[in-house]
């Protein structure tokens, strides 16, 4: 990757005719292989999650006579210890994981953005807020989530809140770092000198600089949220046991690992693939949005 920023070739040309030579989609794929691979996997998984009720197999019907049936035959990925269809349960498990991942990413980015902008811009608040964030960061995410979940009734909403809280400080630190560098730029100073009110300075002149790193951060938060949700469900502090989730499936299949490894590796593989896809999207976005960082990582 070249270190010198070049002016895009079509910058001073009328943009109409130039792009036609190769299909733009193909060019995009060639230039962003990581991003496209990640997106392709994620779209496939999301489609499976959305279409889950329409796909063959039922995740809840128990057939004790056909428990721990191997893959192939009537069941694509075999059955679990209660004779339930592993394929259907894995597909339905994607729903919980994606819901949690997307909600946590959205919630923590929005909250973290608001706190980070305020802390970075309002000098008097900075130290107090950052000490609070340091304290929050020192509490291990999984334990904080376990504590929150153990105090309330198990539900997907509780899990989302429990995972969001420890993710917020990471977003706040990122936003604050950007604000601190942008705050003293001439264009921001000019806006202040021109009489713009503080909320307008923050939203119009400072916030846009935080968006690119935030988008990248959001994908990593999403990936980590999916991992933590699965871990919590695995430990028995996550999604309620009646909802098929990958963590629940792995937890209940551990007694049968020697006899029926598919009951564990189907949800395990789905989980790993989903998180991998989102991490690839994050890496791809980072390469596009921040070429300086991309060279290093």
């Amino acid at each position: 990757m070249t270190a010198i920023a070049t002016v895009p070739p079509d910058a001073d040309r009328p943009p109409a005719a130039e792009v036609r030579r190769r299909p733009p989609l193909w060019r995009f794929v060639r230039r962003n292989p990581t991003l496209v691979l990640g997106l392709a996997i994620l779209v496939a998984i999301a489609a499976a999650a959305v279409l889950a009720p329409l796909l063959p197999g039922d995740p809840f019907t128990m057939q004790p006579s056909r428990r721990l049936a191997p893959a192939g035959g009537a069941f694509l990925l075999g059955t679990d210890a209660l004779g339930r269809d592993v394929f259907a349960r894995t597909v339905h498990g994607a729903r919980v994981s994606l819901t949690v991942g997307l909600s946590v990413a959205a919630l923590s980015v929005l909250t973290g953005l608001a706190i980070g902008l305020t802390a970075g811009y309002v000098r008097g608040l900075d130290t107090t807020v950052m000490r609070l964030m340091d304290a929050l960061m020192s509490l291990p995410a999984i334990l904080l989530a376990i504590a929150l979940v153990s105090l309330t009734k198990a539900s997907v909403a509780t899990v989302i809140v429990a995972i969001t809280v420890p993710e917020i400080p990471r977003v706040v630190r990122l936003v604050r770092a950007v604000v601190l560098t942008v705050r003293d730029q001439p264009y921001v100073q000019a806006a202040i000198a021109g009489g713009a009110r503080t909320p307008k300075v923050i939203v119009r002149h400072i916030m846009p600089s935080t968006l690119a790193p935030l988008v990248v951060q959001a994908t990593y938060v999403c990936a980590s949220a999916i991992l933590i949700e699965a871990a919590l469900s695995f430990l028995g502090a996550g999604s309620p046991p009646d909802i098929p989730s990958w963590g629940n499936m792995i937890a209940s299949s551990r007694l049968h690992l020697a006899r029926a490894p598919w009951t564990m590796f189907a949800p395990g593989l789905a989980l790993a693939l989903t998180v991998l896809a989102i991490n690839l999207i994050g890496d791809g976005l980072r390469d596009r949005l921040d070429p300086r960082l991309a060279r290093r990582m």
Binding site: R131, L132, D134, A135, L136, M137, S138, L139, P140, A141, I142, L143, L144, I146, A147, L148, V149, S150, L151, T152, A223, L227, I228, A230, A231, F234, L235, G236, A237, I250, R254, L257, A258, P261, M264, F265, G268, L269, L271, A272, V275, L276, N279, L280, D283, R295, R296, M297
Partner: protein, 314 residues
């Protein structure tokens, strides 16, 4: 240096107080009556009222916090609801497997990750480099428990090389101790290796582009010496920083790894407390672990001057 250490100690004290406050407030912020939560679902109204009285829940919150914090400073983390034993004692009993696992993991992971990261940076762009980077992304993506069960399936169930689960104290021999810990350490270390290797590579690439590295090469210093003596020493600060930040990852992973491999450590203590809704245990362990994280990161801050003489604490 002393002044810096003192300042850092003060800010850490502040962080720990806030962390303790958060942990303390958790049960009060949760919907519902703390006494009812602690007493459990089957408690009668009288039991709940008695518990509220013994726990001092009728007093104002600030008073409760001061009383609780004072007890914590004196080493009293409360008593387990289920067994009635002091929480601190329960933690101490289960310290050995957890400390063994954490130290072994850190040792294996740091040595492996730094060598792999240096190698990848030295051969940047090569097949080795790209393989390392692919493994780094995979290491972040595959969950600890999936790796753990996969390793158990391969090495313990199929190949029968290693014991399936459980723990033997180091006092009963190093070999059985190691045999029980090697799979957990590899499992727990994977994400940690990925994290450290990535940062090591990035930091090394930065340093290798410096003028003094070119000078060293130009005057004929051997490549290996340039890499280890000139480059790695200067890349030390970011590497050590990420080792400290990664401790958080390790702490979360300990809880899961101990469950997968059935190690009777502090992590298992928490997991067993979930189903019993033994809140004081969860609270106590959370506090202890966050203290460990803060202290490790203080030590790392103080180690910068040892690694890099240019760092001075004003």
């Amino acid at each position: 240096m002393l002044k810096f250490a003192f300042d850092r100690l003060c800010s850490i004290a502040v962080v720990m107080v806030i962390a303790a406050l958060l942990v303390f407030l958790l049960i009060h912020l949760a919907p519902g009556d703390p006494a009812a939560i602690i007493a459990g679902d089957n408690a009668t109204t009288e039991q709940v009222a008695a518990l509220r009285h013994t726990l001092g829940l009728e007093d104002p919150l600030p008073l409760q916090f001061v009383r609780w914090a004072g007890a914590v400073l004196g080493g009293d983390l409360g008593v387990s609801i289920f067994s009635g034993a002091p929480v601190l004692g329960l933690i101490v009993q289960r310290l050995e497997p957890t400390v063994s696992l954490a130290l072994l993991t850190m040792l294996v992971a740091v040595v492996l990750a730094v060598s792999v990261g240096v190698l990848a940076a030295a051969k940047a762009g090569s097949l080795i480099d790209r393989t390392v980077m692919v493994f780094a992304v995979l290491g972040f993506s595959v969950p600890v428990f999936v790796v753990g069960y996969f390793l158990i399936y391969v090495f313990s169930i199929t190949l029968r090389w290693l014991p399936v689960q459980g723990y033997t104290p180091i006092a009963e021999g190093v070999r059985p101790w190691l045999e029980h810990l090697i799979l957990p350490a590899v499992t727990l270390g994977l994400a940690y290796v990925a994290l450290i290797a990535r940062i090591t590579r990035a930091a090394m690439l930065d340093v290798l582009a410096e003028d003094y590295v070119r000078t060293a090469r130009a005057k004929g210093v051997t490549p290996g010496r340039v890499l280890l003596k000139h480059a790695l020493r200067n890349a030390g600060v970011p590497i050590v920083t990420i080792i400290g930040i990664g401790v958080a990852l390790l702490i979360g992973g300990v809880v899961i790894t101990e469950t997968v491999f059935n190690l009777p450590g502090v992590g298992r203590l928490v997991v067993d407390a979930i189903s019993k809704r033994d809140y004081p245990i969860i609270q106590g362990v959370t506090l202890v672990f966050s203290g460990v994280y803060v202290v490790v990161n203080l030590l790392i801050d103080l180690s910068y001057a040892l690694i890099d003489p240019r760092v001075s604490y004003k």
